[in-house]
Symmetry: C2
Subunit: 136 residues, 2 copies
């Protein structure tokens, strides 16, 4: 069903400080930066081999990541698994009884198509499935 | 510095239920199960391509994962990055000013050698570096 861990999502309070940590201290390569209005974040992708770290800075307090930060502070926010067919995977998960946040895929960072599963179904882990755009 | 995300660690309250979720519903292959006394957990590894999900069930309430569960409930616990030389990586991180939980590598699951960085240094993310045993 899944080819790899596509990325981990990390909620951050200070995007520049987080970039310095991951780029300078942990040696990851920054490859993309984008404001994803639909998710209420400014996001940065860094490469770790074929996987990524996605840093998430909320555009306001009243966004999902803003609320996460107020409740938990900065830290691990979600994990995303990579699929080649997000519709098929979503249908299979629905058939397995998964509780979905997104009944239909929507556009995510860097032209990907994504859907989130509800953490109440997936053991407290906010879980994303992602089909990257063809060029990634 | 890192070849890939080695695994994400997930704290679970019910190991059998979590295995059913990841194996049956999410389609991951269970590849290893081990009691890691030094970390106070019964742990299970499932493959996602070259990456893994590590399910962590505490051996008691007074263990790090037991305390994590009491404080946060089940969910994402840590992320581990893979290196080919854990000593060298640990030395580089120390030189970069990293706050370490483990000053020296110790034996982790499946014969790996691991060290944890303090989440207060790494943006609230409990971060592990891991050098797998040669056969993995």
């Amino acid at each position: 069903m899944f080819a790899r861990i596509d990325h981990i999502g990390v909620a951050v309070e200070d995007l520049d400080a987080a970039i310095a940590l991951y780029e300078r201290d942990l040696g990851l390569a920054l490859v993309h930066r984008e404001t994803v209005d639909s998710q209420g974040v400014e996001a940065v992708l860094l490469d770790v081999g074929s996987n990524h770290v996605e840093l998430l800075s909320p555009l306001g307090a009243d966004t999902p990541v803003g609320k996460f930060l107020a409740r938990n502070g900065p830290g691990l926010h979600h994990v995303a698994y990579q699929t080649t067919d997000v519709e098929q995977t979503l249908a299979a998960l629905k058939a397995a009884g998964a509780r979905l946040i997104d009944e239909q895929p929507r556009v995510g960072i860097r032209g990907s198509r994504v859907a989130f599963l509800h953490p109440a179904w997936s053991g407290g882990v906010l879980t994303e499935i992602v089909q990257p755009a063809k060029e990634h």
